[in-house]
């Protein structure tokens, strides 16, 4: 197992390097530079040259690449052009915010998705199955920004129950500890719902399919034949097996917990990674953009790895050999 993990990481490092190198050059070859946004006659052309020099963008591309690579491997992501502070600081704030939002959303999605999926499979072709199928399809295919805006319209504008966005209220600093906690919860409800419900819909479809496949298998029939109660058969024997593919899904979702969801973060004014990435790209803030891409690459790789490991942990049929053995 350990050898397997090491081997996988060994393959992943050159892949990440290749991906980042490509990203680096693609981004530099895109039109414009960080100063292009200052389109104002008061902005002197000479200042543009000065700023490019300040950012180190006056050097040939290969020199810039080498500089970036050497500092990157040392863990130095550079200084953000757009925000005038270390990239690590910019990302640190954002990643924490994104973790809260997307982590919660993922938990909600898995929980609702798995439970409803099981239920829907057990009651296959019943009315409630039909309703759940339609509802899940509805949420799955609905664009998130539209859903977000509709929920804001209903719950914030018409009913006035929930805030329209942001992480906290204006007077957050003046609240009691309990008030602060509650304020945070209230601000999480809508965005978590919007992010969670779409993934819950797909998780549910996934779980339902997997469960249906499982309950038709021989060992379930055997269990039933043994006289075990329906509840034990469904929830103990079938669910444990049906949930395996969903575990993989969890591993594959990890990158998104870190990279954030651009649209949802913008609609709900949530200062997370999605927003950081988008503004960095528009502002041609290369150091931030590439650092975000790097995080996503690393997370995708780790997520895949984790999915494989989890799979092995829960599925007795999968075993990774330690060098000599087969799988």
């Amino acid at each position: 197992m350990l050898t397997y993990v090491i081997r996988r990481i060994g393959v992943a490092i050159p892949m990440i390097w290749l991906g980042l190198t490509l990203t680096f050059f693609i981004m530099r070859l895109a039109p414009g530079d960080p100063t292009t946004q200052y389109i104002n006659p008061d902005f002197d052309p000479e200042v543009k040259e000065l700023m490019l020099k300040k950012f180190g963008l006056d050097k040939p591309l290969h020199v810039q690449y080498w500089r970036w690579l050497t500092s990157f491997v040392q863990g130095d992501f550079g200084i953000s052009f757009d925000r005038s502070r270390p990239v690590a600081d910019v990302i640190e704030d954002a990643i924490y915010n994104t973790l809260i939002l997307n982590g919660l959303a993922l938990m909600v999605a898995l929980l609702i998705g798995v439970v409803l999926g099981i239920f829907s499979a057990i009651k296959q072709y019943s009315k409630s199955d039909d309703v759940m199928t339609i509802v899940s399809l509805f949420f799955y295919s609905m664009p998130r920004f539209w859903l977000g805006l509709m929920l804001i319209l209903i719950f914030s504008y018409v009913l006035g129950w929930l805030p329209t966005g942001g992480m906290t209220s204006i007077n957050y600093e003046y609240m009691s500890a309990w008030g602060q906690f509650w304020d945070r919860v209230v601000h999480l409800i809508l965005p978590v719902f919007v992010l969670g419900v779409a993934s819950a819909a797909s998780t549910m479809r996934y779980m339902r399919g997997s469960m249906l496949e499982t309950i038709r298998q021989d060992f379930i029939r055997t269990a039933r034949a043994k006289g075990l109660s329906e509840r034990v058969v469904n929830f103990k024997h079938a669910t444990r097996n049906a949930i395996l593919p969903v575990v993989t899904l969890f591993g594959l979702s990890i990158p998104f917990i870190f990279s954030g969801s651009i649209i949802t973060e913008i609609v709900f004014a949530w200062p997370g990674m999605g927003r950081v990435m988008l503004t960095a790209i528009f502002a041609r803030d290369y150091p931030v953009a590439i650092a975000v891409v790097a995080i996503i690459y690393i997370m995708v790789t780790l997520g895949n790895l984790l999915a494989d490991i989890l799979y092995a942990a829960v599925d007795p049929r999968v075993r990774y050999g330690d060098g000599g053995g087969g799988e």
Binding site: I39, D42, T168, F282
Partner: protein
């Protein structure tokens, strides 16, 4: 007497608690009043919440570059003097008074003696000298560095006297001396100029203005609180100004309607018109504020052929000689385009009453604006005539004019994300097709679009300018700027250059105005741009804020005077 005062205060407190409802008693329990010179008693306190579409990058006036940031900085820092509504005269601020020398080559400022930085240090003439040094240091790369070009020396005579020396006499000496707020030497003097951009200070500035930074949660909110040590007459009434960052326009508008924010600048025109109607009908508490803004939109016609443009040959202004554009190198054709574009219809169709006619580049807010400039009327017949005279005729009857086997067909570029420009493009496309000209529209992402303008890679472009407070057309239309960033249509006319240079240094205002009109007449004749419209600004602010003035100087020109009746406060 004292008893009744206590009762009054207690009553006011009860009224507030009854109306305010919620856990913010701590902030507003004690209501203070100030008696104005006209006898009016104004309650002190209250919070203004402003919605911003994006965060600012730094709160150091010499590092940040956006209007957004300089608006906030204008509350945290002081300038030597504040410009008045006429955009020509000044009111005292850090400087109590000033005078020019006999030959107008030196300008002496006398500073207040009671202004302190938020850390307790006094603001002195040394800070003024230091701020100038930062402003002109190329390593800092301040965006308005050129404004200081004619200032040769800034000296502190004593703690409260500063002398600016100029190498020439020109109308904007006062403006150039006062542009750029004063920053503290004792906190920034030890930082190397090239490191100023990343100084910790930019995220936690210590200023001397009416407000000071209380907290800044990146990408979430910036909170300012009234500076208790601000000099007496200048003290603001509002306790707090909070900027909420909401990156989505629709969400911002919703927040304005739900009352989560009190103010939104530049409400989209359609919504602004709706807001005006609703406010009149008493259906909303958001009061519309409308005034002449600082931007205009135009179509720029490239006079050189973008496909054959080679930036590596003729790299000096004198030798600049590129292949002319087959369509727009000819001023007659550019005039024909303007004749064919019904600008009035565009204003009516997409302006919601906020677009104003514009004939030349000098904005209606500036002193040199001339109402009597000639107008190129909408006249498609005239356009057809001019095109035919230039040899562009529809020889094969396909509806598109051609000449020497080349069709009159071109691409107009504009940036994505600006609905107004997209609509204007569509209207222009239709108008031009009526005179036998085929135009395609290409939307480009902002940075890409401006980069293409910079590289002269366009045939026609619909873009906009933000107008400066100075009258000057050098950067946009002078031949000297043909290789720079802003004369992207590569417009050149020696006669225009001569008049522009003369007008710039003309001290007699009447004479200068005549010269600027003359320069504009040349531009109107040559039409390097088709001027489409000047825009008015429309801001929405809750009506509980009183004594609000907003004009071309900005949203916060008199924010120190804004106040809220005690019983209408929310926070």
């Amino acid at each position: 007497m004292r008893k009744s005062l206590i009762i009054l205060v207690a009553l006011a407190g009860v009224v507030f608690m009854a109306c305010g409802g919620g856990g913010d008693k701590k902030m507003s329990e004690d209501i203070r009043f100030v008696t104005m010179p006209d006898g009016q008693r104004i309650p002190q306190g209250g919070t203004l919440i402003v919605g911003l579409i994006s965060d600012v990058k730094a709160l150091n006036p010499y590092i940040s570059t956006t209007v957004q940031a300089s608006n906030i900085e204008s509350l945290i820092f002081m300038t030597l003097a504040d410009i008045n509504k006429d955009l020509l005269t000044y009111s005292p601020r850090l400087a109590k008074s000033w005078e020019f020398s006999e030959d107008r080559k030196t300008l002496t400022f006398h500073l207040r003696n009671d202004v302190y930085w938020a850390d307790g240090e006094k603001t002195t003439a040394k800070d003024v000298v230091f701020s100038h040094e930062v402003a002109v240091d190329p390593r800092v790369a301040w965006s308005a560095i050129r404004w200081k070009d004619y200032i040769t020396d800034v000296t502190a005579v004593d703690d409260t006297t500063v002398v600016f020396t100029f190498d020439r006499v020109y109308p904007y000496q006062m403006m150039d001396a006062t542009v750029g707020p004063i920053i503290p030497e004792h906190l920034l003097g030890d930082i190397k100029p090239e490191n100023l951009a990343t100084a910790e200070y930019n995220l936690d500035p210590i200023g001397n203005g009416p407000y000071k930074l209380k907290s800044w949660r990146q990408q979430q909110q910036i909170e300012l609180e009234a500076n208790p040590d601000y000099y007496e007459e200048g003290k603001p009434h509002l306790d707090r100004i909070v900027y909420r960052i909401v990156p989505d326009r629709t969400a911002l508008l919703t927040q304005l309607k739900t009352g989560e924010i009190d103010m939104l600048e530049n409400v989209p025109m359609k919504e602004f018109q709706q807001l005006k109607k609703n406010f009149k009908a008493g259906k909303t508490d958001i009061k519309p504020y409308e005034f002449m803004g600082r931007t205009y939109d135009y179509v720029a016609w490239n006079t050189i052929d973008p496909e054959k443009y080679d930036p590596d040959v003729h790299t000096t202004v004198e030798s600049f000689d590129q292949i002319p554009n087959p369509f727009f190198a000819d001023a007659k054709i550019r005039r024909a385009m303007t004749h064919a574009i019904d600008r009035e219809l565009i204003r009516e169709a997409i302006g919601y009453g906020l677009l104003v006619e514009m004939r030349g580049p000098i904005a209606p807010i500036l002193w040199a604006y001339d109402e009597s400039l000639p107008r190129i009327e909408y006249d498609p017949e005239q356009a057809r005539q001019l095109l035919s005279d230039a040899g562009w005729i529809d020889s094969n009857g396909d509806g598109i004019r051609d000449k020497d086997g080349r069709k009159f067909q071109f691409i107009m570029k504009t940036n994505t994300g600006n609905e107004r420009r997209e609509q204007a493009c569509t209207l222009i496309q239709d108008m031009l097709s009526k005179v036998g000209v085929k135009m395609e529209i290409r939307m480009e992402e902002g940075v890409t679009f401006f980069d293409n303008l910079d590289q002269k890679q366009f045939e026609a472009a619909l873009a906009g300018w933000s107008v400066g407070l100075k009258v000057d057309m050098t950067t946009t239309f002078h031949s000297r700027s043909v290789l720079d960033k802003f004369n992207f249509p590569s417009y050149r006319n020696p006669e225009f250059d001569r008049i522009n240079d003369q007008a710039k240094f003309e001290m007699d205002r009447e004479r200068a105005k005549e010269l600027w009109s003359k320069a504009q007449r040349i531009l109107i004749e040559d039409q390097p741009y088709t001027w489409l419209f000047y825009t008015k600004s429309g801001h929405g602010l809750h009506k509980r804020f009183k004594d609000v003035i907003m004009d071309q100087r900005g949203t916060y020109v008199n924010v120190r005077d804004w106040w809220v009746p005690a019983d209408e406060r929310k926070y």
